[in-house]
């Protein structure tokens, strides 16, 4: 694993503000439930995820490669130990390693079906129960699930999609000057990572401080009945299945309020949260022009804003 010093600083990432926000919100509130980042190759998806871990002391990124086998994911019998000592010992898998950390799956849409099933099972209750090949074991497994995917290579099962609290759609930077800035920073970093990181040290510390402050504030944020009902109304009106999205919407709004240094959840927080929580949960309409989801959300939240006011 790379040294922390070698990590590209989170604060040095140009643009991609929604992705960065989504990641930060999950660090502020670890109970939120992960991020799915959708976008083309080379849009700083994995850089951002790794950089996030570099920002937080004690936060690791556990990589679940698409080629991982089930025994490595859930854990298996430690054969060497068994043969040497005659004792049965559980060798923990990636789900154990990821407990309290980030479980990162690049190209999650290419994951084998049965690995997806196992992930769903563990993510549902925060416990990994293993009953396989002579092993019977169970351990807590709560992790920040971060997945990346290129939607052109196929979609995720809706059941797995729903496990992600937030999703962000990212594209390449369009602005020429911004793009040039991306290249410049990358080159500077590769040329001398240590001094590059040193340059961002103060900013990194400031961000960390902000995160820790927001964490403290999170418990005190108030949410009115109006906001709870707004969340429910949004879910009903957009025909989002289940209650997970309602709950996640409120939790995200709460976290946003804490992150922005406010005391209670406002309509603006709900609106901002909705763009992170709902797009991947809404039923896709065939032949829908891109932006349709945004429009529906906008129309809905716009009208709700009127009602609130």
């Amino acid at each position: 694993m790379k040294d922390v010093e070698q990590q590209y600083p989170f604060t040095a990432i140009v643009g991609q503000s929604r992705m960065k926000l989504a990641l930060i919100l999950n660090v502020v509130n670890p109970k939120l439930g992960g991020v799915l980042i959708r976008g083309e190759k080379g849009t700083a998806k994995s850089t951002a995820v790794r950089a996030l871990a570099g920002l937080m002391p004690d936060l690791k990124v556990i990589n679940l490669p698409v080629s991982a086998t089930e025994d490595r994911v859930v854990g298996a019998l430690d054969i060497e130990h068994a043969i040497k000592t005659g004792e049965k010992k559980f060798e923990p898998g990636l789900l154990a390693a990821a407990h309290g950390h980030i479980l990162y799956i690049d190209e999650i849409n290419l994951l084998d079906d049965h690995i997806v099933d196992v992930l769903l099972d563990a993510a549902a209750m925060g416990v990994n129960t293993v009953e396989r090949e002579g092993i019977s074991y169970s351990h807590p497994s709560r992790f920040l699930l971060v997945g990346t995917m290129n939607p052109e290579e196929g979609d995720l099962r809706p059941q797995l999609l729903d496990r992600f609290a937030l999703s962000v759609e990212i594209g390449g930077e369009k602005d020429v000057r911004e793009r040039a800035l991306v290249i410049r920073r990358r080159m500077d970093f590769e040329c001398d990572p240590a001094s590059f990181s040193a340059h961002y040290k103060a900013e990194q510390e400031r961000l960390l401080h902000q995160i820790l402050q927001a964490r403290e504030r999170l418990g005190q944020i108030e949410v009115s009945d109006d906001m709870l009902e707004l969340a429910a109304a949004i879910g009903i009106e957009l025909e989002v299945e289940g209650h997970r999205s309602d709950i996640t919407l409120i939790k995200t709004a709460l976290t946003l309020a804490a992150w922005r240094g406010q005391d209670s959840v406002s309509h603006e927080h709900m609106q901002e949260a909705a763009y992170l929580v709902l797009p991947h949960r809404m039923r896709r309409q065939p032949f829908e022009e891109s932006g349709g989801i945004e429009q529906r959300l906008y129309a809905l939240l716009g009208s709700k804003a009127m009602v609130q006011a």
Binding site: L77, G126, G154, R157, D225, E229, I236, D246
Partner: protein, 651 residues
Amino acid sequence: MEQLSEFPFSGIVGQEIAKRALLLYAVNPAIGGVLINGSRGSGKSQLLHAASLLIPDRLKISIPVNITADRLLGSFDMTAAIDRGRLVRSPGLLETADGQLLLADHMNLVPEALIREIVYTCSSGWVHLQREGMSKIRRSRFMLLAAMDSGDGVPSPSLLDHFGFCVTLAELADPKDRAEIIRRRLLFEQDPDAFRNRCQRQEDALRLQIQAAGQLIPYMEVTAEMIQLASSIAVEAGIASARAELSLVEGAKAAAAWDGRTKVTKEDIRKIAEYVLPHRMREAVEKTHASCGPPLEPDAGVQTNPLADRTNFSHAPAQHCDHGDERTNPNETGGAFNQGRTEMPGEEEPNDSQSVFNDRMDEQVLFPDETYRIEPLKWNMKRKLEYEGSGKRYESRTLQKRGRSVGAVYPNRKQRTDVAFDATIRAAAPYQLIRTKKDGVAFAIELDDLRLKKRENRVGSTLLFVVDASGSMLARKRMAAVKGGILSLLRDSYVKRDRIGMIAFRREEAELVLPVTRSIDTASKHLRDIPTGGRTPLAAGIHLAYKVLQAEKRRNHDTIPTLIFVTDGRANQSPSGLSAHSDIWNECLEAASRIRLAGISSLVIDTEQGFVKFGRSKELAEALGAEYRVLEHLNEAGFADAVRINIGWVR
């Protein structure tokens, strides 16, 4: 950190019908297992775990998705093998669950062979072991609480029949209720202990009532008339299985006991019918559909969408339960099922017309219920042989390192990796006394002991339909037949592990309208709304098909991808902006030959009709190296058969 599995039962908002089912089961385990069906995030896991907290004196044993046959059914104990070099039998979960409570949270993600063992044991009370040289029959009576998301696929009707009760969770439509759910969840997460304390009194009351009602069960009076009523309800619902009647009577006993009565009434039996019938009626509905139309609909003249009956198995019974019931309030008997999950407001089926006009006047949405016929196709021996090796249309056993490990096999000469150590150790155990052990090793393994993992991968087929959704498909509603055909293939895809996707091309572009899936729910939602009309960008369809299948192959190496083109070949729109017809056509042929060169097998179903035929689809088939069939009069079953036969499935 809070454990969601400790959320109290009485803290759950709504879902009264499901809650009652679980409580009645707690009162009378003779009902047989309870299955909760619900879409993602509907709270099924929470409900199961919460109910398990109320059931007294039983350990909760979870069945994870990763479970293997040795842990479920029992095997030889590895520790004893290594430690003492002896073979000692170690019981599986089905045996240790005797007298306890089994919890299968994502039941339909467990391999179907293992689900079968679980539900058979639950309903028979016996574990039958015939494996690894063990031959045993053991008593095991446990309670089974299972949950599934039917969007992930539905187990076969015969497996469902083993569940006493099945409840499909209703979506709560009242914003106040939904807000209350969020509120309680936040409270619980903030301070789980305080939350549980607040529910404590209600929880205790429920436990007491369960206990008190349970004590009445042995004294329950069930008259012959009641048993006859139970039978006649099952018979009328077209259910052959006697399990339905038994669950009906046992459930009615629990219902009476819950109210403190010792005599089962008609009312009890009728109320319980909604728990007992829906999952068993699915099969009945399918059978009757195949033969003589929908006899279960009270208004035979109204042709509702057959999909609704077949894909949402909880949908049909409600109307039926009302039959012969003096209380005619449908909400009371069928409430749980009528607030159905898939029936959204505004998505109502058209009753008298099969098509609905879109905003755009040249487009229509054709619902998949049109009848056309295709001549049965002959077996294609070449293709059949080609696929026989791996394409069993069911999980194929692979020697590659991917897939779920399902057991152990002897190694062959070439392959010595992917060792199944547990099986290897068990194989070596009997020889430990006579073998000399190396230093630092407690156990001696020789090459002959070596066993490899037997893996199972969901191979099946990946069928990608590339469908012409241009204006010409509107003619004689061919699109409806195609949609119906695709759905009929999907209907049994859970068992067969087939994956089906669909690309539609029309107007300017091609779109993946049904991402490759084996979910009936997803498919029907997507398929129904595909509009038809506009120009024919065939080349765009071919390009996209290539791209999607390549991605599919990357994701699932063992998949057998097949492309099925349904078109009249009258391409008149180019993705790259060509205008001359010959150029557009050449572009299509080029794209097609790319698919042939990639070794992707395909089938072209020609939909060209009318007096003047261009024969373009035949040309396309040649460029693709594809099988070619002419669509004459196609109905959905005919269409499905055509595809099945052509890709060499054995029905």
